[in-house]
């Protein structure tokens, strides 16, 4: 009991405290270190959860499903904090950020981490909602942190769309409560996961249907599914790169996690609409749409933002298909995508810093001028494009092949989208990385550690998945049905 308490509370408390502390710390170097330290602490706490989790309390719950997300998000959160430490230094020099902004930035970073962990651990749909909104609003502020015209516009767009999403999600939550309330009576228990799951089969299906629509749209806005994606590319492109990494690597996942939870609810109620087809459709739309959008991108960060949309589409598609194989593949894809995409954003951040631009057309021959960054980007893009021997290849292999045997047409549509996206990514990649080098060839004082740590993980996963991880994922896949 106590061990579990420590774990859970630590995961929540350390970011919260750190946030409070960072808000008052003036010295940015120190705060950067503190940021790293706090993230590390959270990470360790998350690992401790792996060792000993305990019974669910009405507020907190740690099961196979969310611990995947918790560990993933704390890991990426940690590496990102390391990256951001080396990133912001340069931002200060170029004067894009002032120390004041920076204090704010660090505090918000931890607030966001807190929000996400809370959302993942919460055993109460209301609490989860609150936490996700907290995280979202934190990111909204951070996207706007540069105060530039573009940043503000992006943040404004993000804010408006996000708050509409908030509203939808809340309405959905209320509906779920109302569906549960007649069966479970009033009060907390009818908002508590474990209880809901247990009794969902008796709920009113019609209410659940409406609820799921709102929840799907509400949280789907944050997952960045087309046509709710509009905020995502700009938020990624205009915010500081660490935030882009965290957005793609974590926030999307957390929202996805919420959707998965409610999908479980829906599937357990026989009379309710099966959520699968809806998810599959929206996933496909996102994949194909994003794939075509990739071609006309001029801003490198926006390019990869769209690729995030594409991958979220794939993942939602996989979970929508359901079944042990597809769910397993979906989980794998999600994990790999978080690692890879954040690694790509780390790289892109440094590239943008050394080249002093985010315009794709101004970046050429990177492997000539900055070999490590260049080849790092090559590796990352190859991974994200689903090339072996990196992890995403395995998940896409499973998704496509398992789907094709069941629903050939869907699989072909998916493959079509993947191919289009692949073409766009490779086109841009070759343009950026090869050819005559342009722009400054000044060496970058980048921290390559986070980049290559992620890529190494992805590579390892593509070749060898440890059995413990596999059984764990398979169990989760079973849970998801």
């Amino acid at each position: 009991m106590s061990g579990y308490l420590n774990g859970v509370t630590l995961v929540l408390v350390s970011p919260a405290l750190a946030a409070a502390l960072l808000a008052i710390l003036p010295n940015y170097r120190l705060s950067a270190r503190l940021n790293i330290l706090a993230s590390l602490l959270t990470l360790l706490a998350a690992f401790s959860l792996l060792a000993g989790r305990g019974p669910a309390s009405p507020y907190a719950l740690v099961d196979d499903l969310n611990i995947v997300f918790i560990v993933l998000s704390t890991v990426v959160g940690f590496t990102t904090s390391v990256f951001s430490a080396s990133y912001i230094g340069h931002e200060l020099e170029t004067g894009r950020l002032t120390p004041i902004n920076l204090r704010f930035y660090h505090a918000m970073y931890q607030v966001m981490m807190f929000g996400m962990n809370l959302a993942l651990i919460a055993n109460n749909i209301g609490l989860m909602w609150v936490a996700i909104e907290l995280a979202t609003l934190a990111t909204v502020v951070m996207v706007g942190v540069y105060r530039t015209h573009e940043a503000l516009e992006a943040a404004w767009k993000y804010f408006i769309l996000a708050s509409v999403g908030i509203a939808f999600a809340l309405f959905g939550t209320i509906l779920v409560y109302m569906a549960a309330q007649p069966m479970l009576g009033e009060g907390l228990q009818s908002m508590t996961w474990t209880v809901l799951i247990a009794h969902v089969s008796t709920f009113d299906p019609a209410l659940l249907n409406v609820a799921f629509v709102f929840l799907f749209l509400g949280y789907g806005t944050k997952v960045g599914l087309a046509p709710l994606h509009a905020w995502l590319p700009d938020a990624h492109a205009e915010g500081p790169t660490p935030i882009s990494a965290v957005l793609s690597g974590l926030l999307l996942n957390v929202a996805l996690y919420a959707i998965l939870r409610f999908k479980m609810l829906m599937t357990l109620n026989p009379a309710a609409i099966a959520p699968g087809p809806l998810m599959v459709t929206v996933g496909l739309i996102s994949v194909i749409f994003a794939a075509f959008m990739l071609y006309r991108r001029r801003d490198i960060k926006r390019l990869f933002a769209y690729s995030s949309i594409e991958h979220m589409g794939i993942i939602v598609f996989a979970f929508g298909m359901g079944g042990p194989l597809a769910n397993f593949a979906g989980l794998l894809q999600m994990t790999m995508h978080s690692l890879t995409k954040s690694a790509i954003f780390f790289t892109v951040g440094h590239i943008a810093q050394v080249k002093g631009t985010q315009k794709i057309s101004d970046i050429r021959g990177l492997t000539e001028s900055h070999p490590i960054l260049g080849w790092g980007l090559v590796l990352g893009v190859i991974a994200i494009a689903g090339m072996p021997p990196l992890g995403i290849f395995m998940s896409e292999f499973l998704i496509v092949s398992s789907t094709f045997a069941r629903e050939p047409l869907l699989a072909i549509a998916l493959v079509f989208g993947l191919l289009i996206a692949f073409g766009a990514l490779m086109l841009r990649l070759q343009g950026i990385v090869f050819g005559e080098a342009t722009g400054s060839t000044a060496p970058s004082q980048a921290s390559y550690l986070p980049i290559f740590a992620h890529l190494a993980l992805v590579l390892a996963a593509g070749i060898y998945l440890p059995p413990m991880l596999v059984t764990w994922f398979q169990h989760v896949a079973q849970m998801l049905g």
């Binding site: 209301g126 908030i166 209320i174 109302m178 009113d204 019609a206």
Partner: protein, 220 residues
């Protein structure tokens, strides 16, 4: 008693929908704000009534919050803002009033159609409230969509939140968590919007969202 309770809550909720329609109809900012204040008042009334019939005292708090924040402070602040920004010109709605009204009616019909599927064992008040709440929410969204002006959109968003509150209070014995979070989100929403409007005014001399949209991602 029960019958009366049903009638009153029905009346209030219906009134909310009606006021939403009025907001939809308004095309002057001041008028819009006033109507919104009315909207908030009605909301607080219905919440209060809910508190009374469910004898759930914490709902009075919610009602109070709604009354103070939404019916008084926000309209006033927005008034100030409009004056300061000097945009008392008419807000041109995108489409004509007529079609918008029609769409609104369609939405209400839709929300009814959706909600009446709910099996009868969910109690009646809840059902009706839910239907109205949904339509208020949809209308609020419609207002956001049809207004070109940031203030207008903010108001639309607020009325959307009202719909939420209505639904939340309609749900019997929903834990306090939710109201607080609603109030919370509204507060945060308001602060952030305020900040933004400030910044935006520093940058360009209007809160016209289109001015914001001058830059949109990759410039062509």
């Amino acid at each position: 008693m029960h019958n009366l309770a049903f009638d009153v809550s029905h009346l209030l909720a219906g009134g909310l929908v009606l006021v939403s329609f009025m907001m939809l109809y308004q095309d002057r900012l001041y008028a819009l704000l006033n109507v919104f204040a009315l909207h908030a008042v009605l909301l607080s009334l219905s919440v209060g009534w809910q508190a009374y019939i469910q004898d759930a005292p914490h709902l009075y708090v919610t009602a109070l919050i709604a009354l103070i924040f939404k019916a008084l402070i926000i309209p006033i602040v927005l008034h100030r803002m409009i004056v300061r920004l000097g945009i008392h010109r008419e807000i041109e709605t995108t489409a004509g009033i007529g079609p918008i009204m029609l769409v609104g009616i369609g939405l209400v019909g839709l929300s009814m159609a959706v909600m009446l599927r709910v099996t009868a064992d969910a109690n009646l008040i809840a059902r009706e409230d839910l239907a109205f709440a949904l339509s208020v929410l949809l209308l609020g969204l419609l207002i956001m969509v049809t207004r070109r002006n940031a203030v207008g959109q903010v108001v639309g968003f607020m009325s959307l939140e009202n719909g939420l509150v209505l639904a939340a209070t309609g749900a019997k014995g929903m834990p306090l968590v939710v109201e607080i979070s609603v109030a919370f989100s509204v507060l945060i929403a308001f602060i952030v919007i305020g900040i933004f409007l400030f910044r935006i005014r520093e940058r360009f001399d209007s809160v016209d969202v289109q001015a914001l949209d001058r830059f949109r991602g990759d410039r062509r």
